[in-house]
């Protein structure tokens, strides 16, 4: 295992300290639990809070700031945070207009956030939750854990954050988040595995000519192992699964998001984006907004994911609204 680190047990805490040091004013760490708070919190607005295992940076700590999250609760690497983190973070940033938890659909995340919500509700805080489950690689069923929350989470946090910043009520913000979740679909793949620092070795192995299709963001194996193919073939396979699922139709306007898993260079991400743009053009689907880069990662994994979000005027305006975070910034 080759990582820039000091002690295995300290990677999350020291990285958070670096985030705070690099962005003074923008974010501050909670004094007692692991949580990244907006520098100017609490504000008289709905507090939008997310969290999950670490190792997906810039998600979520990098999205704390104006127009996006009020707080982020990072767990250990790939491990859901604990309820006290969400509870304390909410207490610290809540401004009297309620709290929205944006939760990625993993058993651990869902249960831990639920417990925090119960604790807060018990104290009279108005808490709503939306669970993001956009990963089409996972077969959905009433009897399973359902689909994972992946790339759509970034888009939901941006759009919902803009609505909260603009003064949306908890009901409005929650409804918007559900709308985003209902219109967004994703799929990921890996060229290489990644190594959880505390585990010290890769979570799976791949031969030199193999790839994993349908991976999540936790270094977990995907649904299928295949021979490596061209970028165009890979993109088409993933894009087709996404387009067919919603389904996205000719004439639809979308936000096209090509996300790197952490170890894939930008050159390859833009190359994949080029193939995605061609594919969507052929289908008559119109790319109205785009995002290309490392936004929801799996440590140093090589690979990428594609996310498509169906847009309308409301979503476009909220996407374009100013945002100022460590990981996403425009308009200020």
């Amino acid at each position: 295992m080759k990582k820039l680190m000091n002690k295995v047990d300290d990677v999350v805490v020291q990285s958070l300290a670096g985030l705070e040091a690099a962005h003074p004013g923008l974010v501050k760490l909670h004094p007692s639990v692991k949580a990244v708070l907006r520098g100017d919190a609490p504000k008289a607005k709905v507090a939008v809070i997310s969290g999950g295992g670490s190792g997906h940076e810039p998600l979520h700590g990098g999205y704390v700031g104006y127009g996006m999250l009020d707080a982020a609760c990072p767990g250990e690497v790939f491990t859901s945070p604990t309820p006290d983190q969400m509870y304390e973070a909410a207490k610290a940033v809540e401004g009297g207009k309620g709290v929205l938890f944006i939760v990625k659909n993993y058993t651990g995340d869902v249960m831990n956030f639920q417990m925090a919500a119960d604790m807060l509700s018990g104290e009279g805080v108005n808490v709503a939750q939306v669970v993001i489950d956009d990963d089409v690689a996972v077969q959905d069923s009433l009897y399973t854990a359902g689909r994972r929350g992946v790339g759509g989470t970034v888009l939901a946090e941006k759009i919902v954050g803009a609505k909260a910043e603009a003064g949306g009520s908890l009901e409005e913000v929650k409804a918007l988040c559900e709308k985003v979740n209902s219109q967004v679909r994703s799929m990921g793949m890996a060229l290489t595995p990644c190594t959880v620092p505390a585990a010290g070795k890769p979570t799976f192995t791949l031969a030199d000519d193999e790839m994993e299709i349908g991976i999540g963001i936790h270094g977990e194996p995907g649904r299928q192992r295949m021979k490596l193919q061209s970028a165009k073939e890979i993109v088409e396979m993933m894009a087709k699964a996404i387009v067919d699922d919603l389904p996205f139709k000719a004439g639809d306007e979308v936000l096209a998001f090509v996300n790197g898993m952490g170890g894939t260079p930008q050159m390859e991400l833009y190359l994949a984006y080029n193939d995605l743009a061609s594919y969507l053009r052929e289908k008559g689907i119109v790319i109205a907004r785009s995002l290309v880069g490392n936004y929801i990662t799996s440590l140093e994994m090589q690979g990428f994911s594609i996310t498509l979000l169906k847009l309308d005027d409301e979503l476009k305006a909220l996407w374009d609204a100013p945002v100022e975070t460590a990981g996403l910034r425009w308009g200020r």
Partner: protein
């Protein structure tokens, strides 16, 4: 020989030792069908638990298990944190005020703990989770207690049932937790949470036998 406050503290320490020794094993199991952290999670949690209970003075079993539960809840994270947290919390409620537990009071407490896990995680038998080890163990414990078995005898039956339950997860397709994302690819691997449940129960038994 019943499980008293001293015995419970000793057992918890022993469970910590076992989970530390099996950290890599549990993590490897979780690499195959999960995200390679179950051993790390459990070890982190029980390291904190040992720290916590070693500092307390306890007059009853419930108080110990409440500290165990709260500590797991705020240090494990993941799926197993709330699940084991709830398990011990529900047990602590059943054992509140008791200085010692016999087979039937332990069986009743564990049954309550299992109910908590199911209420939270909604797993059924054969979903390939810790429930597959815990549920038959609780059944065996109850049954043995009902026939007037001693605590160690009853726990022996429970551990055997847990082991069989753990092993039964190998051929299953996971329907809950992270392993469910793998669909059929989860077949052929033993569930990490069922394994940690077995380890916890078997260590409890061994610790109890040493005292006896």
């Amino acid at each position: 020989m019943n499980l008293d406050v001293q015995g419970m503290l000793k057992a918890i320490d022993a469970i910590g030792t076992t989970l530390e020794a099996h950290k890599d094993y549990l993590t490897d199991l979780d690499s195959a069908i999960g995200d390679a952290d179950h051993g790390i999670n459990m070890n982190r949690g029980f390291t904190k638990v040992r720290e916590k209970v070693s500092q307390g003075t306890y007059g009853d079993l419930g108080a110990i298990l409440k500290d165990v539960a709260m500590t797991l809840m705020s240090s494990v994270g993941g799926a197993s944190g709330p699940l084991y947290g709830t398990f011990f919390m529900r047990m602590s409620m059943k054992l509140a005020g008791l200085q010692a537990a016999d087979a039937s009071s332990l069986a009743a407490a564990m049954e309550e703990g299992l109910k908590g896990i199911v209420a939270l995680g909604k797993a059924q038998l054969e979903d390939k989770t810790m429930v597959d080890a815990l549920s038959p163990a609780v059944e065996a414990l109850k049954k043995a207690a009902g026939t007037g078995a001693s605590l160690t005898e009853a726990l022996e039956a429970a551990v055997l049932a847990a082991q069989a339950g753990m092993e039964s997860t190998v051929p299953l397709v996971a329907r809950k937790g992270r392993a469910s994302y793998l669909g059929k690819r989860s077949v052929g691997h033993q569930d990490p949470g069922a394994t940690s449940t077995y380890l916890i129960l078997s260590t409890l038994l061994m610790s109890l036998k040493e005292v006896a």
